[in-house]
């Protein structure tokens, strides 16, 4: 059965050069509705830069991008209204509590108060922060901040969410909880999710398709099976993603 799939994100030769240093190198790809799409790559590979270009937070040096059909360079505000973004360093106002923070973000998005209040309550409950809602964010653990980041997405209800290193620095328990919550975002909230990480296990568990990105170049993309077949002519059962990843990593580095 062939399903008509709609490309939610499209890029062509997207490139970013910082003072002569190429951070993202002619990257072309498509993300389809409902996917959980992973960028896998070591530190400094250019994952964050790629996301920032799709958000309209950084201008590409070359190439084009469309997010939900909108050009993030020319209509940055429109794109920002449609997408959700969880930055990698979890910056929150430490002297606000979770509810104040989420209200502020909802206000920035122009959400009416009664809708925002309702969603905030629901979101805090979903991510399991309902008991810490009145605590200052400064006193939150890293895992709690990460979950607050997800709560923000639940309140905003974007069509597409970008998650930058969502499990960075979390212990195994918190990581599993996070993976569960991201699955929930995808299934229950029906968000298309683009996440980037250097953490294999998570990408493996969550993503239907993924890309490996090293030194700004996309070196492979597809499902686990196609990746394994393309490169090694074997079925994925015989190779773990880790082995594939390491293989690419060594080849490129």
């Amino acid at each position: 059965m062939v399903v008509e799939e709609k490309a939610i994100i499209e890029t062509e030769n997207l490139t970013k050069v910082y003072k002569g240093q190429v951070a993202v190198d002619h990257v072309t790809f498509k993300v389809f509705e409902g996917e959980v799409f992973g960028f896998l790559g070591p530190n400094g590979a250019g994952k964050t830069t790629l996301i920032l270009m799709l958000l309209g937070l950084t201008e590409p040096t070359e190439g084009m991008a469309r997010v939900l059909g909108v050009d993030p360079v020319r209509e940055a505000i429109k794109v920002k209204g449609l997408i959700g973004y969880m930055p990698e360093n979890m910056g929150f106002y430490n002297d606000l509590d979770a509810i104040q923070m989420l209200k502020f973000m909802a206000d920035l998005n122009g959400l009416p108060r009664h809708i925002a209040d309702e969603r905030i309550e629901k979101a805090l409950y979903t991510v399991g922060l309902e008991n810490e809602a009145k605590k200052k964010i400064g006193a939150y653990s890293r895992g709690m901040r990460q979950r607050l980041g997800l709560a923000e997405l639940i309140v905003k209800e974007p069509k597409v969410a970008f998650l930058d290193e969502p499990t960075l620095g979390l212990d195994p328990d918190a990581t599993n909880k996070m993976i569960e919550l991201i699955e929930n975002l995808s299934k229950e909230q029906r968000m298309t999710i683009i996440l980037c990480s250097h953490f294999l296990e998570m990408v493996q568990k969550l993503c239907s398709r993924m890309r490996i990105i090293i030194k700004g170049k996309m070196v492979a993309q597809g499902t686990m099976e196609t990746l394994a077949k393309e490169k090694f002519g074997v079925d994925s059962e015989e190779y773990t993603l880790e082995e594939i990843y390491m293989k690419y990593f060594q080849e490129e580095a």
Binding site: L52, T58, I77, P87
Partner: protein, 318 residues
Amino acid sequence: MHGLKVIFKKELADHFSSYRFLILFSLICMVSLIIAYMVSMTIKNEMKDIAKPQFVFLMLFISQGGLFSFVQFVAFFGPLIGLIMGFDLINRERNEGTLSRILAQPIYRDAVINGKFLAGVVTISIMIASIVLVITGLGLILMGVVPGIDEILRILVYMIISIVYISFWLGVAILFSIIFRSVTTSALAGLAVWIFFSFFVSLGANIVAKAFVPDAGPDNLEALLKQITIQRAISLSSPIILYSDATATIVDPTKKTTRSFVFVGPFEKLSSERFSGPLSLHQSLLIVLPYIITLIAITAICFAISYIVFMRQEIRSA
């Protein structure tokens, strides 16, 4: 537009709930109260047997009770208020990663600096207004003087100039907080500018004037006058002197060109004798209008630079 409103409201709440503001405000209140008290006492003693002089109410602001007058205090300390309120407004958010978070929301980038600046200006206005009210109240209680319409208008103009003046320094602080990633560096840069304008400009103006027109003895009025002209022209490049001159004319209608205590030179006395009677409010306004416009203009320039730099800056926290 909604972005500006939301940021403005948050920043305003931040100011009023911060210890920084509380300490700053208490400090200024304390000093103002002491000055007002000392001035009231002096005036009360001196006024015992004589008729009430003109502008007694204004004397609350311009008399040097012990060390310096309220007007001089604001001229000297006002820059610090602006700098302290603004030196970390942008770079702190950048370092903590909240800047990229809010800029990923559907708001214009300039809404952030506009909102922060406006909230600062409103905070400054409330601060100045409440202090002037406190001083007025104290004057009423201690001396029993009721300000006339003319005096009230003068104080209102004075308040507006002061708000613009402190806002200028807030603008300088915001500019540095955009340029420098480090909070300490931006605080230091602000202090350096403040010290430069407070001390070096007036000193430099003196030296330059004397270099152009050598001293020719106290009898050579022409040379003296030239020196003063050059010195004044150079001094006016300092916002602090601009402010001191403008406020002196407004709140001290009998004196016209008092400089704040840091800058008083021997030549001011000469020019202060140009007029004999007090200036009317209308005359005073005409004199200070260019000063006010200049202050607003340099604030706008400072803000324009902030705007240009901020709009082109790479926003990433790492």
